[in-house]
């Protein structure tokens, strides 16, 4: 009894200490490298923290194994393009409505097949009818879809070639990104949640790859691998700041170069926005965690059979929390694309956007929201900083060699891959020696 009391008080003290260390690390980067890099780490760290919160909701609260984080993050990014860029009128005229019609046909074919499946009597006839229905639906879909897409992509391909977005403020894209991810998650959950945990994992892995494939190939949607650049921002542009009277005066007052000051100012604006989002999320999640709902979720996680016996709808609750967690990942994805100012589908790699988030959750402490945030910040910091550190060590080790020495060049060249190596080692060490993470669940 007394021992457990000591443990909880230790844990309570640990959180401020660790966050203090984290702040010190970021400040150290500011002093030693530059404030720009420090704020870059902070901003992406905050976004990573939100992704980690999403995975923590699924894994930490409900024990659901989602390895499709990348897909939900990418959908959030797509939302930014579809909400905030201005519509391409010509493309809409060329084939906008036809594409929508084709998509409606596609959805209709699938829904129709499900209805047929439920209505018709079991037997070979049913399978034949449904197969014929789906094949016919597919060909009608392609017949409407292909020419429409060709027409849209022919409109000014060098600049647009897509339908564009709605031209709304970019902040609206953040919740929309969450909605997109939630929609995809609902589809996955509907099909795979009733099955075993491994199957859910593989299903999410698959859906993530498919979402990325869609983003890369459907040029009419988000320009595919041609990327969308120059997305609108929720914060002022550096160049405007540098030309505005008040900002130059402000920079002179604090004795800074206006160019550097403007870029730091912009990053601080982002940091403020992200902190506000994290604050809202964590408040909501802490309330949820401590509510009867949160207790029920943990009860389900710890013993599904007994919870089911107590009359809890396990699959229903799982569906709920899976969709919520994915929505948070989508929100983070939209925020990330906004921060980057561009959507580059080819930059989404599972190692970086799925498995790294998992490292964050496990290292931070699964089941603890503050742990997820800490893990997000700390692992992201490590991911960025381990390369220069490795490079520095490699340079010291190879300092005896000539600069054009092939061995030295190769070693320095490949130092970037020290990142996955370190992340793996960190994960393995934490799992072995401190499996509950930096800030364990209470």
């Amino acid at each position: 009894m007394s021992q457990s009391h000591i443990q909880t008080s230790n844990t309570a003290n640990r959180a401020p200490l660790y966050f203090g260390v984290m702040a010190a690390l970021i400040i150290a980067v500011g002093v030693l490298q530059s404030w720009n890099s420090a704020l870059f780490i902070l901003n992406m760290g905050l976004i990573s923290a939100i992704m980690a919160l999403g995975v923590n909701l699924q894994w930490g609260f409900a024990g659901l194994f989602n390895v499709g984080v990348m897909g939900f993050v990418a959908l959030g990014g797509l939302a930014v393009v579809l909400v905030s860029t201005s519509p391409v009128g010509e493309a809409w005229q060329a084939g906008g409505l036809r594409v929508l019609l084709a998509l409606a046909i596609g959805i209709g074919a699938i829904v129709g097949a499900i209805v047929l499946w439920k209505k018709l009597a079991k037997g070979t006839l049913r399978s034949v009818i449904i197969a014929a229905w789906l094949i016919a639906g597919f060909f009608i879909f392609r017949a409407v879809f292909d020419p429409a897409v060709a027409a849209i992509e022919a409109v000014n391909p060098a600049i647009s070639g897509n339908l564009g977005g709605l031209g709304l403020p970019v902040l609206i894209a953040w919740p929309v990104g969450g909605l997109f991810a939630a929609g995809a998650a609902w589809l996955v959950a509907k099909t795979a949640l009733g099955l075993r945990s491994d199957y859910l994992a593989i299903a999410t892995l698959g859906i993530a790859e498919i979402i990325i494939a869609v983003l890369k190939n459907e040029d009419w949607l988000g320009r595919g691998v041609k990327n969308v650049i120059g997305l609108p921002r929720p914060v002022p542009y550096e160049i405007d700041l540098q030309q505005s009277e008040w900002f130059i005066g402000f920079a002179q007052n604090i004795g800074a170069d206006p160019v550097t000051a403007s870029s730091i100012f912009v990053k601080l604006c982002y940091a403020g926005l992200f902190l506000a989002v994290i604050f809202l999320l964590i408040t909501a999640m802490q309330l949820a965690l401590n509510s009867p709902w949160g207790r029920m979720m943990r009860a389900i996680r710890d013993n599904e059979v007994s919870s089911e016996a107590m009359g809890k709808n396990v699959t229903g609750r799982h569906l709920q929390i899976f969709v919520l967690g994915a929505a948070i990942c989508g929100l983070a994805g939209a925020m990330m694309t906004t921060l980057d100012g561009q959507l580059t589908p080819s930059s989404y790699q599972p190692l970086r956007f799925t498995f790294l988030v998992w490292v964050m959750v496990i290292v931070g402490g699964s089941g603890n929201n503050w742990g997820a945030v800490l893990g997000g910040l700390f692992i992201w910091f490590l991911w960025v900083e381990v390369e220069p550190i490795g490079r520095f060590v490699a340079e010291v080790v190879t300092s005896g060699m000539a600069d054009d020495n092939i061995i030295k060049e190769t070693i320095l060249d490949r130092m970037v891959y020290i990142r996955p190596l370190t992340m793996g080692l960190v994960l393995l060490f934490v799992l072995r020696f401190n499996p509950r993470g930096l800030l364990p669940e209470r």
Binding site: V67, T191, D198, E209, F355, W358, T410, I418, P420, L421
Partner: protein, 336 residues
């Protein structure tokens, strides 16, 4: 209407590549399924184990070539393969002893081991890239074709050619040999039987005096060999690119699950189901349809059902369909 030419075109672009790819997936899926059957977790590090094994082959092949060893018309890589398998076995056993064994001892939940395998995946992934970089490496040498398209045309007088690459033949032959050896081992030898017993019912196997550590060790050794062979065959057929092997994880898992996790026979069937569906659905059938249609007529489009970039969608769709209608896979796998 020209059925013969249509058949040849179909064989050239779908049948032959599909068979080779299916054999590669089947070998990969066998590794996944064995780990699942004996160690009872989905090994996310399997793709990167394949990359590691293939990397050994690439390095040893390069070393052999530099001292002038070659295998005549066959790729030198085949000579390097046994040595690479030994290296991979050592690597995998070290991983098991330093990482996985602890979790067996504390009887951790299977999902814990999946997360551990993620860590192993990260480490292997980084290590491979640090050792050989990420460049595309072609390490196939020797004779490139068994039959070239031109030879086939002159031989048969058809206008459509059928090319069979050496690597494709090697893939299929090796896969048949490996699978035959594996099934002989599992069904006929005492050790193989003890492995199957352990997979079927752990408690009963322990009671009858089977040493679990020995079973696990042998499983890892077999898996290391399978992963190296699968990775090398894939690398010979296409080329060695470390990141591709991680992408193979999805079709490999799909094959194993479609066949039924834990069932070796299912893994092979699943591999071919996935491979043929991927190749068939993403192949542009224009040529075949042109031959089959009336003379002088050709379809407007490519007659391609899905763009090749959607091949993951194919494995995924099949996976979902099988899971919905036959949750334990085609060949009754286990469900933990």
């Amino acid at each position: 209407m020209d059925i013969l030419n249509a058949l040849v075109a179909f064989a050239n672009f779908v049948l032959v590549p599909g068979t080779a790819y299916g054999a590669q997936l089947a070998l990969g899926a066998l590794g996944v399924t064995l780990i699942y059957g004996i160690l009872r977790f989905s090994n996310f590090a399997h793709g990167d184990t394949m990359a590691f094994g293939t990397m050994f082959v690439v390095l040893i092949t390069a070393a052999m070539k530099s001292v002038g060893i070659s295998f005549g018309p066959l790729p030198t890589a085949l000579l390097a393969l046994p040595f690479a398998i030994l290296c991979t076995m050592a690597l995998v056993l070290i991983t098991d002893r330093t990482v996985y064994r602890f979790y067996r001892k504390v009887k951790a939940a299977p999902v814990m081991l999946v997360i551990v395998s993620m860590g192993v995946m990260f480490v292997m992934n980084g290590a491979v890239r640090m050792i050989v970089g990420t460049d595309d490496r072609r390490f196939a040498d020797g004779e490139r074709f068994v039959i070239t398209a031109r030879d086939f045309k002159t031989m048969t007088g058809l206008s459509e050619g059928l090319a069979i690459r050496t690597t494709q033949v090697i893939t299929v032959v090796t896969a048949i040999l490996v699978v035959a050896a594996l099934f002989w081992f599992l069904n006929k030898t005492r050790t193989g039987k003890s492995m199957r017993a352990y997979s079927d019912n752990e408690d009963l196997a322990l009671l009858s005096g089977i040493n679990p550590e020995r079973v696990v060790t042998i499983t890892w050794l077999i898996v290391a060999a399978l992963a190296t062979i699968a990775g090398t065959l894939y690398g010979l057929d296409k080329s060695f690119k470390p990141f591709i092997y991680m992408q193979l994880l999805l079709p490999i898992f799909a094959s194993a699950i479609v066949g039924g996790l834990g069932s070796p026979l299912g893994a092979i069937a699943g591999g071919f189901v996935i491979a043929f569906s991927e190749v068939t659905l993403t192949y542009a059938f224009k040529k075949v349809v042109t031959y089959l249609g009336p003379d002088g007529w050709a379809p407007d489009g490519l007659v391609q059902l899905l763009s090749t970039d959607y091949k993951f969608a194919v494995s995924f769709a099949i996976l979902i369909i099988v899971l919905l209608f036959k949750p334990t896979g085609l060949f009754k796998g286990k469900s933990v």
